[in-house]
């Protein structure tokens, strides 16, 4: 019963959010720095509620059939519902205390869900790492929000002086704290670990909505509360965005676990969103308010688009996992024929994430490219070069995403099945099918008519900005992107050409491979397809590879190959931090003797120190 009600309630939240955004009304209280619980909905909150509802409704419908019946499944289902409510609470909170409380629950709930659904050692270690990283970073979020509240930035905009040390401190702590939660490189280490081990619908929610709520936090602090920021902060945000976009997709290419690959793509897309946000900050500090608002709208539009197609892809991965028992991409194959609905929807999601017309990723990446081009167009040397570099990085990211998703569709959906279980896979039940197909429909609608939304997103900027509403994207100073016209041309020409080509008279023939039979052992793998790139980037990635040849009496019996692309950021940045932390903990442990007397002595010493300090007049 609750399983059926959950998607309906989520859909209601989505409808409420988008209708509030369309009408431009606000509800409830405004932001306050006081520590009393307040809730309210303004344009930005309404948009994120819309995103939440649009993604959550199909995901919860999917989860109802995905989760196993029984106690674990029921608990997971209930916790997932609570998780959704907490996400809604964070975007509706209007005072620091409820915001931060929701923020912490948002971190803790996925950990609980993962531990309910899996209790092996690996899952426990990963959850510990996830909690450690996000809690350390969470401290920065607390500092940022409490500093902003203390300075009165929540009560009135412009309370923090522009260019002051306080403003920069709040911006930087927010970038570290909320950036970690969003998975911005180099603070991303938890994300590719935690997403793959969660149940597929929870991965979809984490990637589709939770990290977007972190983006909400960043927009709230950097754009809304702080007012125009110094140029250097904007350039820093651009650099972080470019690093996440390129780094995320490059490491995604070398993953063999489909869910882990998708998790790295979340880092990439967060990078694209952050690029839009960075362009907004730079343009705003240069005084180009029209394009700053368009850049913000680009970031928000990509937030929505990524939420839709990433949830679709994670749910698709979950459906494939249920159908075949694996998410190892080298062991799937031919699923488009066996699961036509789920596979077709997954193909649409792949085209969308690769930024191809006529789907939604293309539209938002185009607006982001235009926004980045306007950074050099403002005509200042330093930020101009930064903008041009970010532009090239985004173009390269899009092409890398094409490479990656040609590989994914090829290995998962196309070609011959690569195992017995895959050959016997069958289509999933209706609720799972309907969930992915409806998300694919959203990819098409948002790709064909993004202009209907972009106008409202432009007006979300806290400064006056407006764009006439149209179906396509018509921005000043561009050749415009009539998305509907593009979609019609593509569909019509493809249709005409398919008809013109006619039916085939000849019988099918086997694949030609220089006269050799194409056997399963000769099929290409993920590692083979990405080898040219691995060689081109060898200087940066420093891939490791070992080949062992076992020969007896000069005759080769066996050749074993293993290769991996190490995570340098993890190994150079995270590993030393962990070592230092463990060493510190070893020292601190000496204080713990286990004798009651020692602890009483500590207490008495503490009281004495406090009394002395109070007597001297340092406190109190």
């Amino acid at each position: 019963m609750t399983a059926r009600l959950q998607p309906v309630a989520a859909a209601a939240i989505g409808v409420f959010g988008f209708s509030m955004l369309a009408t431009g009304t606000t509800l409830g209280s405004g932001f306050t720095g006081a520590f009393t619980p307040r809730f309210g909905v303004d344009g930005l909150t309404a948009f994120f509620l819309g995103v939440l509802g649009l993604v959550t409704a199909p995901t919860l419908a999917f989860a109802a059939r995905y989760l196993e019946p029984g106690r674990r499944g029921r608990i997971t289902s209930v916790l997932t519902g609570v998780f959704v409510l907490v996400l809604a609470e964070v975007v509706c909170a209007r005072d620091p205390l409820t915001f931060l409380a929701g923020w912490e629950l948002m971190t803790l709930l996925p950990a609980a869900i993962i531990l309910v659904s899996r209790s092996d050692d690996e899952a426990r270690r990963t959850v510990f790492l996830y909690l450690a990283i996000t809690h350390l970073a969470g401290a920065f979020t607390w500092v940022a929000v409490l500093l902003a509240a203390h300075a009165g930035a929540l009560d009135s905009t412009g309370a923090v002086a522009q260019g002051s040390g306080l403003q920069i401190a709040i911006a930087l702590t927010a970038l570290v704290g909320m950036g970690t939660k969003a998975g911005v490189m180099p603070m991303h280490s938890w994300l590719p670990r935690a997403h793959p081990i969660a149940p597929a619908p929870v991965s979809a929610l984490m990637s589709g909505v939770m990290i977007k709520v972190a983006i909400y936090g960043l927009v709230r602090v950097l754009v809304d509360w702080l007012g125009p920021l110094p140029l250097s902060v904007g350039i820093l945000v651009l650099a972080l965005g470019a690093l996440s976009a390129v780094g995320g997709v490059v490491y995604a290419l070398f993953q063999h676990d489909l869910k882990r690959l998708l998790a790295f793509h979340s880092i990439e897309n967060i990078g694209i969103i952050v690029l839009g946000l960075g362009a907004c900050l730079v343009l705003r500090s240069r005084g180009d308010e029209t394009w700053a608002a368009i850049a913000l709208a680009a970031a928000l539009l990509h937030t929505l688009n990524h939420a839709v197609f990433k949830a679709l892809l994670f749910l698709g991965a979950g459906a494939f996992e249920r159908a075949t028992g694996t998410v190892e991409i080298d062991r799937l194959g031919g699923l488009l024929r066996r699961l036509p609905w789920t596979g077709g929807a997954f193909l649409v999601g792949s085209l969308a994430i690769a930024g191809l017309p006529p789907f939604n990723g293309f539209a938002s990446e185009w607006v982001t490219l235009q926004a980045l081009l306007h950074v050099p167009a403002a005509g200042h040397l330093g930020d101009g070069v930064a903008g041009a570099l970010a532009l090239a990085a985004l173009a390269a990211t899009a092409a890398l995403a094409v490479l990656c998703f040609v590989k994914v569709t090829g290995l998962v959906l196309l070609g011959p099945p690569r195992s017995e279980a895959v050959a016997a896979a069958t289509e999933r039940p209706l609720p799972m099918r309907a969930a992915v197909v409806s998300l694919a429909g959203a990819c098409v609608v948002l790709g064909v008519a993004p202009g209907l939304l972009l106008g409202s997103l432009v007006s979300l900027a806290p400064w006056p900005a407006a764009l006439p509403t149209a179906i396509g994207l018509h921005l000043p100073g561009t050749g415009s992107l009539p998305t509907l016209g593009i979609a019609l041309v593509l569909v019509a020409v493809t249709g005409v050409l398919v008809v013109a080509r006619g039916r085939r008279a000849a019988a099918p023939a086997p694949t030609w491979a220089s006269g050799q039979l194409v056997e399963p052992s000769l099929l290409w793998t993920s590692a083979g397809f990405t080898k040219p790139l691995r060689l081109v980037l060898a200087g940066v990635l420093r891939p490791e590879r070992t080949i062992e040849v076992r020969a007896t009496r000069g005759v080769v019996q066996e050749v074993a190959y293993s290769g991996r692309v190490p995570q340098h950021l993890d190994e150079q940045l995270l590993a030393p931090a962990v070592r230092v932390a463990l060493r510190g903990a070893a020292h601190a442990r000496r204080l713990q003797t286990g004798h009651l007397g020692t602890y009483v002595a500590y207490l008495i010493a503490l009281v004495l120190v406090l009394l002395t300090v109070a007597k001297v007049g340092l406190i109190g």
């Binding site: 200042h380 101009g384 196309l414 080509r501």
Partner: protein
């Protein structure tokens, strides 16, 4: 005037495009002391292929079957976007330079995904190389287009043609640096030496030809037309933006055939004098182009600040 420019854009892009690779092959043969085929050879091949029956690959599905049509449709879209003269109105697909990035990538996705569907190792070899080089081509493309867009203050291609006309824009080196970068984009997108060799059918070295191995008949005809249309799209951009041109629309239209012929001759000359470089060096070559375009952006910024 606009009607003529739109007519030339459609007729040229859809019908005259195969003449461009034909001209390159013709001149290349002449430069190498051979008689070679006539420039109309691509039309003969298209007619021959259109009359032949296609053969499906066993086990291949809808992606393999749709790929030629989707690729051709994406190139039709690109032809609709790229104007042949300044001030040309939109044909329903917009006129945006940055939109070309996604439109051309769609064709690439279709063909390379199809090579997974037929599970042919040689096709996949070509596909993986094509997509790897495309990363660097796209970055170079976007930076060289950015130079032109900054000079002309818009990304509308019809306005960029107008904004880069005349001799005043050449007084600073930015557009020339953008042109150097775009030359490399032309070579990469048309699959010519030193990045790819269009004449080779040797499995181990080919890039663009690889994924086409399993196609025959009308499917192959569509893919060959698409390759020709890709010549049209990038050569028209090179001719009307990155070569010095006059502001008058009549003069632009009259000069276009001559400019395209010169560019084809230039490609033939390049193919005659350079050998194909190692595939892993192609990204470095394109990175040099990207650096040149970035320098173009810098020199534009220095000039106006």
């Amino acid at each position: 005037m606009n009607a003529l420019s739109l007519a030339l854009q459609l007729v040229g892009g859809l019908a005259l495009a195969p003449l461009l690779p034909g001209l390159v092959q013709y001149w290349k043969a002449r430069l190498q002391g051979r008689r070679g085929p006539t420039p109309l050879q691509p039309y003969r091949e298209l007619r021959r292929l259109w009359g032949k029956s296609s053969v499906d690959v066993e086990g291949a599905g809808i992606v393999y079957r749709l790929a030629p049509a989707v690729t051709a449709a994406s190139l039709v879209l690109a032809v609709l976007i790229v104007p042949v003269a300044s001030g040309a109105p939109s044909l329903g697909a917009g006129r945006d330079a940055l939109a070309l990035l996604g439109v051309l990538a769609l064709g690439r996705f279709a063909v390379t995904a199809a090579s997974w569907d037929v599970a042919n190792g040689f096709a996949l070899q070509g596909a993986s190389r094509d997509l790897t080089i495309a990363i660097f081509t796209d970055a170079t493309f976007v930076l060289s287009v950015a130079v032109a867009a900054l000079v002309a203050h818009t990304t509308n291609l019809a306005t960029i043609v107008a904004g880069t006309a005349g001799s005043a824009v050449w007084s600073s080196p930015s557009l020339a640096l953008g042109a150097v970068a775009f030359l490399l984009v032309v070579v990469a997108e048309t699959g010519r030496q030193p990045i790819d060799n269009p004449d080779t059918h040797l499995e181990l070295t080919m890039i663009h030809e690889g994924p086409l191995l399993e196609y025959a008949g009308r499917d192959l005809a569509l893919l060959q037309w698409s390759a020709a249309a890709r010549h049209w799209v990038v050569l028209v951009l090179a001719a009307q933006i990155f070569l010095p041109h006059t502001p008058g629309v009549w003069a632009q239209l009259a000069a276009l055939p001559v400019r395209l012929a010169i560019l084809c001759a230039g490609l033939a000359l390049l193919e005659t004098f350079t050998a194909k470089i190692r595939i892993l060096l192609a990204p470095r070559l394109l990175a040099v182009g990207a650096a040149a375009a970035l320098l173009g952006v810098v020199s534009w910024l220095v000039q106006i600040t």
